[in-house]
């Protein structure tokens, strides 16, 4: 039996479905990279809702779970490349943590394309655009999350 | 004569309580295939809910698509049928905005009639105890609607479990309290005893009069079953003298404060009102949990598992009796069978210090 609250969401979005993607961006690299993409007037699909966090290590698996369960069609975690994290080891912890979570999601039947990670440094504005475009394409192929749950 | 008119009036109002049973109950015999055929015919306008065996998980009451899944054997369902009357999570009302003003609407009530088959006598008696809470002073709309829309077809216990003690709680494996219809499994079919008008309406058309042999087996059945209950204990009178005794410290040690015994109990009815996304849900809750009475200020009148386990025992064997006159336990043994650490409430209550003798 589908949760009546998300059932409502499902009907309202059946026709012109645009995926909603939550993106957790680390403040020092990925957020700056996304900002650079903006200042250099790069265009990318508006389906991303950016949530700024001090570091990718701050992302708690509960955040990802709550986003997916409350109707987000995809979750992206972006952080600094390993080695240049502002807090020196935040992204190492995140890497380990979300390697497990991604495999667990796949094991439990959540489409792996719905949860992705990317290292985007402050200077990689165009990599950020590429990551977002690919992500939105894949989520569109994966379809709304409510259809399956 | 006026009493009869009052009786029919009440039946017409379709609020007959299963407590007010027709004096003369009808007895029939029906073969197993005929019963299944009858239930199939009901699938159209009734929702059939019955025990279903799920591989190495146990027996669970579930709405049945096809009658073949129905399991009418000896084993007991793990979850009681209470979950179809006091749902584990149910929307009560939702609030919204209509041109700038806040509005509140009732959640719609399901109106499909249903037959719940396979209920044990202890669970049906549990529903009578729940009626005392939800059908008394403040009438609970959804509970009463569920009760009115359901026909309860019980199945007498063929082989009571060693943890059952319904005879000590003045019930019996073949008790008819709370039943509309009661089935007794005999060699090639079921002896059907119809107790209430709802039962008559649904089942009166079936089967034939039981012959002499079947009547004899029925009475032998009823007699033998009660003896199979090995565990019996003297229900305590007033427990309040030993409220402060440290006996509760000793016996509550193994308790894990989980919700198994409260959620699987046919008479436990504590709930929680939770507002999520502007919808008010009534969800299961249990006194075993540590945040059941935790206040926003951080004060908790029942902080450790001793107070919480003592609350469970007293609510069942002392408080409910003082309020409603009957113990809130039907002796089904579920909390003993499924407790992760095998705590036995009947042992704990019967070994309570003598102060409880009065």
């Amino acid at each position: 039996m589908i949760n009546p609250r998300t059932q409502e969401l499902k009907n309202s979005r059946a026709e012109s479905w645009e995926p909603k993607i939550a993106a957790f961006l680390c403040n020092w690299c990925s957020y700056a990279g996304a900002d650079l993409a903006g200042t250099s007037r790069r265009e990318y699909p508006p389906n991303i809702r950016i949530i700024r966090l001090p570091c990718s290590g701050r992302v708690n698996p509960l955040f990802v779970l709550k986003c997916l369960m409350d109707g987000a069609d995809g979750v992206l975690i972006a952080g600094c490349h390993t080695g240049d994290c502002h807090y020196s080891e935040g992204n190492y912890y995140a890497r380990r943590r979300f390697a497990i979570l991604k495999k667990l999601f796949e094991f439990l039947g959540i489409d792996p394309r719905r949860f992705q990670m990317a290292w985007v440094s402050a200077s990689e504005g165009d990599k950020w655009v590429k990551v977002v475009k690919e992500l939105v394409e894949e989520i569109k192929k994966a379809g709304p999350i409510l259809a399956k749950s | 004569m006026p009493a009869l008119i009052k009786m029919t009036l009440r039946i017409l109002l379709n609020r007959v309580k299963t407590d007010t049973l027709l004096k003369k109950n009808m007895t029939k015999f029906i073969k197993k295939e005929d019963l299944y055929k009858l239930l199939n015919s009901f699938l159209k306008d009734f929702e059939i809910i019955g025990p279903k065996q799920i591989a190495n998980k146990g027996i669970f009451y579930e709405p049945l698509e096809s009658i073949e899944d129905l399991y009418l054997g000896e084993l007991f369902a793990i979850e009681p049928a209470k979950k179809f009357f006091l749902e584990s999570s149910e929307c009560l009302f939702h609030s919204g905005f209509l041109d700038g003003k806040a509005t509140v609407q009732d959640a719609p009530l399901p109106d499909k009639r249903r037959i719940i088959i396979g209920l044990r006598p202890c669970e049906a008696k549990g529903l009578i105890l729940l009626d005392k809470v939800f059908d008394s002073e403040y009438k609970d709309r959804s509970y009463i609607n569920n009760r009115e829309k359901s026909v309860i077809v019980g199945l007498a216990c063929a082989k009571p479990d060693k943890s059952c003690f319904c005879t000590s709680m003045d019930g019996s494996p073949t008790g008819s309290r709370g039943m509309d219809v009661l089935l007794f499994a005999v060699e090639d079919g079921f002896i059907v005893e119809i107790y209430s008008d709802k039962g008559k309406e649904a089942f009166s058309s079936l089967g034939k009069e039981p012959d002499e042999h079947q009547n004899k087996t029925l009475s032998a059945y009823k007699q033998k079953r009660s003896e199979l209950i090995g565990k019996n204990f003297k229900v305590p009178g007033d427990l309040s003298p030993i409220f402060e005794s440290d006996y509760w410290d000793k016996v509550s040690f193994p308790c894990l404060s989980c919700g198994v015994c409260t959620y699987l109990c046919p008479t436990c009815h504590c709930f929680e009102l939770v507002d999520e996304g502007r919808k008010m849900y009534r969800c299961n809750d249990g006194c075993a949990f540590s945040n059941f009475t935790l206040e926003a200020s951080g004060w908790n009148p029942r902080p450790t598992k001793k107070e919480r386990y003592r609350q469970r025992v007293f609510h069942k064997f002392d408080y409910f009796k003082k309020i409603f006159g009957e113990n809130l336990c039907v002796g089904c043994g579920r909390c003993i069978r499924h407790c992760p650490v095998k705590m036995d409430i009947s042992e704990i209550v019967s070994n309570a210090p003598s102060g409880a003798g009065k």
């Binding site: - | 709309r141 939770v274 502007r278 006194c287 059941f292």
Partner: protein
């Protein structure tokens, strides 16, 4: 024959909000409600949850109800963020309220601690509006500090009322604080209220109730003559959800006002 949904709240609009102390606000609601002093209502902040609050104004004082809310948890925080004109859901009134009949022509001793003055204010104003029915009135109101005292603007009115004495106290000495200093039980021992033909009504945090009761008993008040409004976590308000019980008594249905005799072996 559809039974009424007993959980469906009535809508009430907030007409006035008064900031009593940094964490206590008094909400005035436009809602016609028949209630007795000491009863409570279930506030429903849509999208957040429900919480019980006692009605702190007297039924004799005009339409609408007033409730004082201290910010502690999720619902109270959401309530403190509402402003005038917003709508909340109200269920109730629940509880038995104060037994006003057998308080008639007796001296009344009010003992309040912090936000505990809210339910007592309802009865105090009720008694002041029917002053001739009661003998002397003594109000002892304590709080942790001076800015934790609620309803400050009503103190002068209470003091000027006929044969009414008001004792204010804070836990420890503060600058420009002229009244008494000390916790409520000690103050009671100092002022030694007369106990013949009088009733004590106590409301405050559990710790205060625990230490005030022995003092009152020592002063000669008999357990039947001591009333207290208790407070526990409540959800339904109708004695069904099974959490607010003290022994066989449900605080929401059989209380919240109890005589000390009823609850003495449970409030150990």
């Amino acid at each position: 024959m559809e039974t009424k949904n007993i959980y469906l709240p009535r809508l009430a609009e907030i007409t006035d909000i008064k900031q009593e102390t940094p964490d206590i606000k008094t909400f005035k609601l436009k809602l016609s409600l028949v209630y007795k002093p000491g009863q409570f209502v279930e506030f429903s902040v849509f999208g957040e949850g429900e919480a019980p609050f006692c009605i702190s104004n007297s039924p004799t004082r005009g339409p609408g109800i007033e409730c004082s809310v201290k910010m502690t948890g999720k619902v109270t925080q959401a309530l403190h963020e509402l402003n005038i004109g917003d709508t909340v859901g109200i269920r109730g009134p629940y509880g038995n309220g104060f037994p006003v009949e057998n308080l008639k022509n007796k001296n009344i001793l009010f003992v309040a601690g912090g936000i505990g003055l809210a339910p007592l204010r309802s009865l105090i104003n009720y008694c002041l509006d029917r002053r001739e029915d009661f003998k002397s009135i003594t109000i002892v109101n304590g709080a942790r500090s001076s800015n934790d005292l609620v309803y400050k603007d009503e103190y002068p009115i209470w003091e000027k009322a006929k044969d009414t004495r008001l004792y204010l106290t804070v836990d420890c000495q503060e600058d420009n604080w002229s009244c008494m200093v000390g916790v409520v039980p000690r103050i009671l021992e100092q002022i030694k209220p007369v106990c013949q033909d009088s009733v004590a009504i106590v409301c405050g945090p559990p710790i205060m109730i625990k230490y005030t009761m022995p003092v009152l008993l020592k002063l000669g008040f008999c357990p039947e003559a001591i009333m207290t409004t208790l407070e526990m976590k409540m959800k339904c308000g109708m004695g069904k959800c099974g959490r607010c019980n003290i022994g066989p008594l449900y605080i929401c249905k059989d209380g919240p006002v109890f005589s000390y005799a009823q609850v003495k072996n449970y409030v150990s």
